[in-house]
Amino acid sequence: MDVLNALVALANFVLIPATAYGAQLALGALGVTLIYGILRFSNFAHGDTMAFGTMVTILATWGLQSYGISLSPLPTALLALPVGIAVTALLLLGTDRVVYRFYREQKAKPVILVIVSMGVMFILNGLVRFIIGPDDHRFDDGVRFLIDARTFREMTGLAEGLAIRTSQAITIVTAVVVVALLFWFLNRTRTGKSMRAFSDNEDLALLSGINPERVVAITWIIVAALATTAGVLYGLDKSFKAFTYFQLLLPIFAAAIVGGLGNPLGAIAGGFLIAFSEVTITYAWKKVLTYLLPDGMAPDGLVQLLSTEYKFAVSFVILVIVLLFRPTGIFRGKSV
């Protein structure tokens, strides 16, 4: 029995990756939940918005690199992130002006807006593939590891190594900063309060003189920042591919719904719940169990509950369970 090594293995393969993934999902889900709260529809184009923001950031990163500018030891993409956010914000404000505003003025049913967002999804998807292509891109430079497995082993003398990738550390730090900023904005500033008021009761907010177009514009800008940050962090951690981002739609929506659509706190909780379940259920537990169980009782198989290809099934099952037993989500979101 070797608890210490088991813990290190667990942290290395489950806790750290799941935390980073959870932070990325939480940022994505925050964007979905904000649009749902303010604009009152499920935005199917969110995955592709993330892809677009990441693409712009990658292009800006390449531009910076070609001028020899880098942020070493941190990835250059962090320097390019504001550019990505700004361009994405312009794009979202543009789509709102050209596409969504018409339906808002008509007071169209939410489901019509969902179909409209499907059209936007097609366009963004085509645009991203048109500009950067459908292939995989890795754009993380700088130092790869904060601690690598060998240094950790030498430092502690344990058999198991613990590796923390720079991208994982950056993800967690950035996510904490972004979430803190967002909550400060929503709870402390006048604009943030007007957004919450608008989300709670549109008519009452209008009566008290809140300008709806301003609230909507600010929402899109915040969503652009959240989506781009989430996309860039995911891309740094794994890699950028247009189709993968499109597929992220499912876990992100699952996170937002599980937490309660329209509830920012719920989106964060949902993101981590989905990420931890996905990683724990698709992880092969053989190594950890071998350390924990007495000698001779080590498992023969991989002790993997589900193969990694079924990770979508995990978010789906959690979603269904929550919907069956608590239809408005863990944190009591709103329902339109």
């Binding site: 199917f44 596409v99 489901v111 059209g119 929506f253 099934a313 979603l319």
Partner: protein
């Protein structure tokens, strides 16, 4: 149908015939065949969305299940695999089903409280491990049987046309399970639930090699029509082809495609007739009444949830039928080729553009959007060629633009969808 609708159908026919004259008749018949299948998919989605207002974005999953139905019915059974672990796999699946049914019963029968939750979790976890203990060795045994050629259980070896209703039934079964859980919740939730189930169906097809050979693909699915080589070897056919002034190779490919077109057209016409009858019957009026005002319909004593479940299953079965027909046309099941943009969202574009709530509209949308989906690429390439003709031949930008032409179709579909939603939200042939 009004004269304007007839004109629209004539326009689509003209587009396809034009393809025949300008490109090749083989290309035109390919568009026609997939257009027929797309029209059936659009009919299925139109039943759910147009009649009842149900938002299903899992079309891909139902289409794929239809394809699975064809494989399970028409492929020859692999005897060695069956004796290696066939029965054990079936037994494991029965255990899995038993665990789920048991869990539902447990939840219903036990008194509320913490004990019930704990009992449910323990039952499910234990059931999962028992299932895996029976299932895993059987799967390993099946996949070990000649993995290069088979490595799966195969099908029943029946004529391929029997696979079509079976495919529809599989899709209907999946729809029943989803409908039971997600209908009655908010519309967005049904959307996400169907999106999820579609991804899961594709994941199962890709990974359960004992069932579908996974990414190794099932090829050589039997055909309901003769093979080209047989026709070319048939002196009578060669003679008739020569009489029409065609060489035997072209004649045989055209003949086979025409036979498929005839089969598919028969199915499509039958479905249109059935759905027109249904839409005009009291049942159809009730469906539309429920869609337009659920509360009022419920007050009139209509069982809204049951009717929604019914139409959801029917629409999904039609999508499954289309999927089965598509696999028959391709003669192969390639799980990796199922992409949500192509099989879910494109069908939605067809329904919205054609006219939701109108069967002829959905059919028109199916043909028109499929035609555009195929033809935007060569047309875009031509356009790009003209636009970039001023640039240097070795310009990097020009090369990039020419490479990216393939992605024009996504952009075009998005623009078409948005334009129709904005300026003609009821579609080309609106509901009447």
């Amino acid at each position: 149908m009004k004269p304007r609708d007839m004109a629209l159908f004539a326009l689509v026919a003209l587009l396809i015939v034009g393809t025949g004259y300008l490109q090749s008749w083989n290309a035109a018949l390919n568009i026609l065949n997939m257009g027929l299948i797309s029209a059936i998919m659009a009919l299925g989605v139109n039943m759910q969305w147009g009649y009842a207002g149900l938002f299903n974005v899992g079309v891909m999953g139902f289409v794929a299940l239809g394809g699975l139905g064809v494989v399970l019915v028409s492929m020859p059974p692999v005897g060695a695999a069956w004796s290696a672990g066939g029965m054990q796999v079936l037994f494991a699946l029965a255990i899995g089903l038993g665990v789920i049914v048991g869990a539902i019963q447990l939840w219903r029968r036990m008194a509320r409280g913490a004990l019930r939750g704990v009992a449910l979790v323990v039952w499910l976890v234990a059931g999962f491990f028992v299932f895996r203990a029976v299932f895993d060795p059987a799967v390993a045994a099946i996949e070990a049987v000649n993995p290069a050629a088979t490595g799966y259980l195969g099908g029943l070896g029946l004529p391929v046309l029997f696979g079509w209703p079976v495919g529809a039934l599989l899709a209907a079964g999946a729809a029943w399970v989803i409908g039971k859980t997600a209908l009655g919740l908010r519309s967005d939730y049904l959307a996400i639930a169907t999106l999820g189930i579609a991804e899961i169906v594709i994941a199962v097809l890709k990974n359960e090699e004992w069932l579908t050979r996974g990414v190794k693909n099932v090829i050589g699915i039997p055909r309901p029509v003769p093979y080209e080589v047989e026709l070319q070897a048939d002196p009578g056919f060669v003679e008739r082809a020569a009489g029409l002034g065609l060489d035997p190779v072209t004649a045989s490919t055209l003949y086979v495609k025409l036979l498929y077109a005839g089969l598919f057209a028969a199915v499509l016409i039958a479905l249109i007739w059935l759905s027109q009858m249904a839409l005009r019957s009291p049942w159809g009026r009730m469906m539309r009444a429920i869609r337009d005002n659920e509360v009022a319909a419920e007050a009139m004593g209509k069982d809204v949830k049951a009717r929604h479940l019914q139409i959801f299953i029917l629409g999904s079965a039609v999508c499954g039928l289309a999927g089965a027909m598509m696999i028959t046309l391709d003669s192969q099941l390639t799980p990796a080729s199922y992409q949500p943009l192509r099989f879910t969202f494109l069908v939605w574009v067809m329904v919205i553009v054609g006219g939701s709530g109108n069967n002829f509209g959905a059919v028109l949308g199916g043909f028109l959007i499929w035609f555009l989906w195929v033809q935007v690429e060569p047309f875009g390439a031509f356009l790009m060629e003209v636009m970039t003709s001023g640039m240097a031949a070795d310009s990097a930008l020009r090369a990039h633009l020419m490479d990216s032409v393939a992605h024009m179709r996504l952009l075009t579909m998005g623009v078409i969808l948005l334009l129709v939603l904005r300026f003609s939200p009821r579609g080309l042939i609106p509901e009447r």
